[in-house]
Amino acid sequence: MENIMAIARSTYWRHAKSKSLYVLWILLIILIASAARYDILSLGRSKVLIVDLGLALTALVAAGSVMVLGMEVPRELRQRIAENLLSKPVGRDQYLIGKFVGAFLFSLGNVVFISVGFIIVMLMSDIHITDQFLLPLIGILGMTLILAATAAFFGTFLSEVPAVIATFLVFWLGHSTQAIAHMADRMNGAGHLVLRAIYGLLPNLNLLNTRGDFSQSMFSSARGVPWSYAGLSVAYAVLYATVMFVTAMLVFRRRDL
């Protein structure tokens, strides 16, 4: 456990020490706040714009910061940093778990910071915030878990750039996997079952995207998702991330460094 936390701390601080990160945070919060200036251009929808832009940027920041893991493992392998560490009494599983925890904590820190800035902007714009605001954030963290596990998986056998591209593609396409389920629902018999099974095997990030529901429920009488939905979708994220991460560990155990 001590080894895992040491690796996680090192991974976290390696990225958190970057000064450009803090500049980026401030710029993003300014960007969210600037949406208030678009009231006329959007025919009075500036509050909706603030909420939608804020949630979109929070999701992007979470995904972007967790993608570093896809780059982190191959980079440390290439630079022989991992080789040196793994020649010590540190298991490969411990190394990978440490990297995963570090990257996830880094992403979590970024999400917390952006969210705090985002809440301040909402309060300044007279947007009433309820506890429902936690629902899309929980979904974003669920997405982060899946992406971190996926990045770890790709990082175990791909080099830096392909691993990041592959993780980005999962982020991009993972939000549209419901197209397969829709296709399945138009079919009968074996075709339906096969497509539904394929749908289930893919990382379905759309199940964790409740940003639209939150925004919709804030500015219209439409109902948002219940807490039970958020709970079940996060349980799915934990399960998927665990399975994906164990796969990454098994691949990494067999790899020549």
Binding site: E2, N3, A6, S10, W13, R14, K17, Q79, R80, I81, E83, N84, L85, L86, S87, K88, P89, V90, G91, R254, D256, L257
Partner: protein, 278 residues
């Protein structure tokens, strides 16, 4: 500091074939049935030209690369035992370390990984930095280090756990003459403490000065092995550099001859079968 085992490293028919290419079909043999014995408390030189299989052997011993066949023990334990590595120090070839850390911070982290007792960590870190001559740079960021300083830091981290066996892959690379002198002194100190130093190198003059025992590798096979003085005396008192070239050239000629013989016998067989068919 005593070693319970007489030989700290033993390998039996250790082989490694790397699989490359898109479908991992391309075979690149790197190690061919290597039998190696490293006696305890000695300075052991592991020599060979590029591609001889030195780094592969070291990586197999440290569990970084998996052997295709054969077996090996280190400090009397199978190499699959992760815990044995707490008694080993290792310096990789061209080492790199987390650049966001300071030298002292990094060594403390390595000491913790080796489960060095909390109250001992500071003294160990200081003594290791002193030993490699960079004590004044303990608070400097690693990213500011030159190649030679990185090499010194690498040696320090390999010694932070006071290992029974130190494995160093090309430790003299990147060091200036002062660094090489310091490193030689460290090797001799370790030997005096009955620790084993196993290192690979291209710098044959230093190896000749330091090594009690050496193995010369070529194309994945051991081509010479024994007590340094004894080997050189047997070879008519030549120096290690001449001995090395003689052995490697001989082996290359032998391999070339064998390949030619195999090729010509193949061609004779083909011609014979063609004429029989006609």
């Amino acid at each position: 500091m005593g070693n319970d085992t007489v030989n700290v490293i033993e390998t039996q028919d250790l082989s490694k074939v790397y699989n490359g290419g898109w479908f991992r079909r391309a075979k690149a043999p790197s190690l061919d049935k290597l039998n190696l014995t490293v006696p305890a408390g000695k300075i052991f030189g592991f020599l060979g030209p590029n591609g001889a299989g030195k780094s592969t052997t070291i990586k197999i011993l440290l569990g970084l690369v998996f052997p295709s066949s054969g077996s090996a023990t280190i400090l009397g334990q199978p190499i699959t035992n992760d815990e044995i590595r707490s008694r080993i120090g290792y310096l990789p070839e061209n080492p790199a370390f987390p650049t966001h850390l300071r030298a002292g911070e990094f060594l403390r982290q390595m000491a913790k990984v080796h489960k060095v007792a909390g109250d001992e960590i500071e003294s160990r870190v200081k003594s290791c930095l002193n030993l490699v001559g960079i004590a004044d740079r303990a608070d400097s960021a690693i990213k500011e280090f030159s190649r030679g300083m990185l090499q010194r830091l690498g040696i320090a981290q390999a010694l932070v756990n006071q290992p029974e066996l130190v494995i160093l892959d090309e430790p003299l690379n990147g060091l200036d003459p002062y660094g090489r002198r310091d490193l030689k002194r460290i090797f001799l100190d370790l030997k005096a403490q009955k620790r084993t130093v196993f290192f690979s190198s291209h710098i044959l003059s230093d190896a000749e000065d330091l090594c009690d025992h050496l193995t010369i590798m070529n194309k994945g096979q051991r081509i010479a092995d024994g007590d340094t003085k004894h080997l050189l005396a047997e070879a008519g008192g030549m120096n290690l550099e001449d001995y090395f070239f003689q052995k490697v050239d001989e082996d290359n000629r032998r391999r070339f001859g064998a390949e030619m013989a195999a090729a010509s016998s193949q061609s004779i067989r083909r011609e014979a079968s063609e004429s029989a068919a006609n």
